[in-house]
Subunit: 108 residues, 2 copies
Amino acid sequence: MPGSDVFTGTIDLLILKALTWGPRHGYAVGRWIRETTEDALVIQEGALYPALHRLERKEFVSEQWGESETGRQAKYYTLTARGRAQLRREASRFESYATAVARALAVT
Amino acid sequence: MPGSDVFTGTIDLLILKALTWGPRHGYAVGRWIRETTEDALVIQEGALYPALHRLERKEFVSEQWGESETGRQAKYYTLTARGRAQLRREASRFESYATAVARALAVT
DNA sequence: GTCGTATACCTGTTTGAACTAGGTATCGAC
DNA sequence: GTCGATACCTAGTTCAAACAGGTATACGAC
């Protein structure tokens, strides 16, 4: 993960979160992450699309081609039941992890 | 990062933090991380020692052989000025990153 | 005595996520 | 007509972390 812009593992988590309100296409997922984190997290396309395919292989999301708001063909991703469970697991793991690190950093 | 036990990049951060109170040897660094995070973070030795060598190469820490509390030879690591600066940078990066992710996860 | 456990170090190999750096194509605006 | 935004893709590279071993000392239990 050369540049280390992103902490490994959080991309999947954020993608799953982005899909909690219904199907979204890949490009929109990336935009959602960038926007809701106010540019603090920008997922490169070379990381985003492989991550989506990875999640599809693991059956955390399913794919459907559809039409985007702009009238273009786009691949929509839908959170599966397994994906929803995975999101809960990963979110709680991230939180306890972040808390643990923050606690360690706070030691004086 | 196979098992995904640890979010990439945080090992270095925690090692640097562990050295803020003076020199510590590698084994003690690993123990400190495990103890202060109450087993939430257990750094494998196969990740810990290479990380220490990496930080040494980058001149964030320096090495000195010494005697441990148990009277054994042990390699002590000391935070350099550059290491201290790196710790500040990485700690603040982690905090803003964790905050951004937490904010995204909190969206309803 | 030797057996297990904790201490203390090490590295070769593999894995795989993220990055780099390209590529294709459509559409509206200027 | 070309520029930017949208929308998708993947081959190749990097390198942190995990895996899976290894060495050696000290100490108490048995």
